[in-house]
């Protein structure tokens, strides 16, 4: 549905590009997790999709039509649920929805019906008459979501929609995003919470310093580095452990223990048996695939970005 090809952008007077040769696709029915540290270029990318920035280099198409053409014909095909509370704080929930429904061209019975549907989807019916600035953080996020859904967008962009909300609201929002994708929307979801993206994304794009570092289906990215075993033994005999595990795969020191990426022909049980046979006592063991946070940190390094 959405295709971004070799997109580049540099802000006036900036020494480095905010986006450099970025390419990826987002398809209907899937959630694309867009990850990156602060300053990676996520907001610039979203601003392009929201029509707030003009393309300098590369192209963005929606169903093979240039984005500008699509936006001029029907801007409501794309909706953004931005990081900020993008609504009028002194207006009530209903007044906000009516305002943005009207701005998008809805009126009369159609508008009322759609507002009711969005209120129901976001479970905001009880708060329809409440001023937006009196809502809790979670309710404000739900209002942001409701406004984004008003015009039945085909592409939905969520920019860190769960910042500052309680676990219940977060769970609700994640469910809602997943449901929207299942109903046929293409969803782009950015967040710094890796477990969220891991829970709902079908594919992932990792950006840093304006470039795509990695992209692909989530399960493929997480399984690509093989099965990992983190192990520590009593008595601090790390050197012995490193030597013992070397034949089983790639092993590196990690804290007080080691991390072993198992070769395909070896299994967890054989490793533990070897350790036991060598007379070492296991004090800590963790087994499984790389998680998204590990992958993200390994790609983007640990240095602070702000």
């Amino acid at each position: 549905m959405l295709a971004i090809r070799e997109l580049g952008f540099r802000y006036p007077a900036a020494s480095v590009a905010a986006l450099d040769n970025v390419s990826f696709n987002a398809v209907r029915g899937e959630v694309l997790g867009l990850l990156g540290p602060n300053g990676a270029g996520k907001t610039t990318l979203i601003a392009h999709l929201a029509g707030l920035l003009t393309i300098q280099q590369g192209e963005i198409t929606l169903d093979a039509q240039p984005l500008a053409v699509t936006r001029a014909a029907k801007p409501t095909r794309i909706a953004v649920a931005p990081q900020e509370y993008a609504f009028y704080p002194t207006l009530t929930v209903n007044e906000n929805l009516a305002c943005f429904a009207g701005v998008g061209g809805l009126s009369g019975a159609v508008s009322k019906a759609r507002i009711a549907e969005c209120l129901a989807f976001s479970q905001l019916e009880r708060h329809a008459g409440v001023r937006a600035d009196y809502l809790s953080g979670g309710l404000k996020r739900r209002l942001n979501l409701a406004i984004a859904l008003l015009h039945r967008p085909e592409l939905l962009l969520f920019d860190e929609p769960t910042v500052g909300v309680d676990p219940q609201s977060r769970a609700f929002l994640l469910e809602a995003v997943k449901k929207l994708a299942q109903e046929g929307c293409a969803v782009i979801y950015t967040s710094h919470y890796m477990e969220e993206v891991e829970a709902i994304a079908d594919c992932v794009v990792i950006l840093d310093q304006g470039r795509v570092l990695k992209q692909g289906a989530l399960n493929e990215l997480l399984g690509a580095d093989g099965t990992q075993l983190q192990l520590a033994v009593a008595g601090g005999e790390v050197e012995r452990l490193l030597a013992l595990l070397a034949p089983f795969g790639s092993v590196v020191r990690q804290g007080l223990g080691v991390q072993l990426t198992l070769d395909a022909r070896n299994s967890y049980a054989t490793v533990i048996a070897a350790v036991d046979a060598a007379g070492l006592v296991v004090s800590h063991a963790r087994f499984g695939h790389t998680d998204l946070e590990q992958l993200f940190m390994s790609l983007t390094r640990r240095s602070l970005r702000d």
Binding site: A98, G102, V103
Partner: protein
């Protein structure tokens, strides 16, 4: 149809947001009303002085015929005198008594014998703080009365066929303000002045709401929904023209109906050309809203919006003859005032309300306001595009 819905939704939002802004509403509606009432009451006497209502007493030490006639004539013009307190000097010094007319012993003799030696006088002893205009008016009136008494005494000494009353009739002098319609009063002057001031106060409201709209991300969302900068500007102009219309109606109503109830003079729209009045109000409103949009596009924060708007307003009002009438300003300041849009608005309204001006007589002021509005709208459009 979709575009009309968009405009209606944006305009409704603007009015709803304004109606929830208590401080903004107070600045737009309450403040100019209070100014009209307070300033009209405070300046009431500038146009109908209280000279005949000053508390005074008479100390007649002469008791002669001329002294009696002087007192009679003074009382007839200035109203009854208070009883002379024993400590009248202290009463005058403290201002409780505004003045004392002291007629010294021998006054009648001096009046009846014009060629005689100077001596006794009719003295006006006033409180220290008496307004200079009032002091001079009373002094000159006393001089005129005594001169007349002297002339009457001289004529009385001439052969009896001369009719002293006919000779000394009212002097052939008349003075009046050249008002074509309503006569000038404090209300007639203050309503247009503070109405212009109030209408320009939309600067603070529009700037505040625009900063909020921008900072909360709602503006970006509107742009995302395909709203163009010119559409955003138009959607803000129209509601505030309506707000200015309501302001004008309220301020005129205060002048017409409220002021007489609380003891002031009522505003009169007698002889007013309504088409000229509406043209002036529209031109002022357009200039005010356009300036507001330019300021709104310029500021970045709530603090800037909350200070820049009112400061600009007060400056324009001070320079434009709203706070200090133009006729008391020196020439330099009057030349500066000619550059203030508030002054153009005020002069146009005074033309309509005081001088019964028609459209032709206000076309210059309305034209200047319209040109100013176009420039400000162009500036806001340029700034708007950069910021949204």
């Amino acid at each position: 149809m979709a575009r009309l819905n968009m405009f209606l939704a944006l305009m409704k939002k603007e009015l709803l947001a304004l109606s929830r802004d208590i401080h903004g509403m107070a600045a737009l509606f309450l403040m100019p009303m209070v100014f009209i009432v307070v300033m009209s009451m405070a300046l009431k006497d500038v146009y109908s002085p209280t000279i005949t209502k000053l508390a005074y007493a008479v100390l007649n030490q002469d008791q002669g015929e001329a002294a009696k006639r002087l007192v009679e004539r003074w009382v007839k013009e200035r109203g009854d005198a208070k009883a002379l307190p024993e400590n009248w000097r202290d009463e005058v010094r403290s201002g409780r008594l505004k003045y004392v007319l002291l007629i010294e012993s021998g006054f009648t003799s001096v009046v009846d014998n014009p060629g005689g030696a100077e001596g006794a006088k009719a003295r006006l002893l006033t409180e220290p703080g008496l307004d200079n205009g009032m002091f001079e008016t009373n002094r000159m009136r006393l001089v005129a009365m005594v001169t007349r008494l002297r002339a009457e005494a001289m004529l009385a000494g001439l052969p009896g066929n001369l009719d002293a009353a006919a000779l000394m009739g009212d002097a052939p002098v008349a003075a009046e303000r050249m008002a074509a319609g309503a006569h000038p009063t404090a209300v007639q002057q203050n309503v247009p002045a503070w109405l212009v001031f109030g209408m320009f106060f939309v600067v603070a409201s529009i700037a505040g709401l625009f900063v909020e709209e921008r900072s909360c991300g709602a503006l970006a969302r509107l742009r995302g929904l395909g709203v163009q900068p010119w559409q955003l500007i138009v959607s803000k102009v129209v509601p505030y023209l309506l707000v200015n219309g309501v302001q004008a109606t309220l301020m005129l109503a205060v002048g017409i109906w409220l002021m007489p109830v609380i003891g002031g003079e009522g505003l009169s729209l007698e002889g007013v050309h309504w088409d000229a009045l509406l043209l002036m109000l529209f031109a002022i409103s357009l200039a005010a809203v356009s300036l507001a949009l330019a300021v709104a596009s310029l500021v970045n924060t709530h603090a800037q919006a909350a200070t820049l708007g009112p400061i600009l307003n007060v400056l324009m009002a001070a320079l434009g003859g709203i706070m200090v009438p133009l006729f008391v300003m020196p020439t330099v300041m009057r030349n500066i005032a000619a550059f203030s849009p508030m002054n153009w608005g005020l002069e146009g309204l005074l033309d309509v309300l005081l001088r019964s001006g028609d459209i032709a007589s206000v076309v210059s002021e309305a034209g200047r306001l319209a040109v100013f509005a176009v420039l400000m709208l162009a500036l806001s459009f340029v700034l708007f595009r950069r910021r949204v």
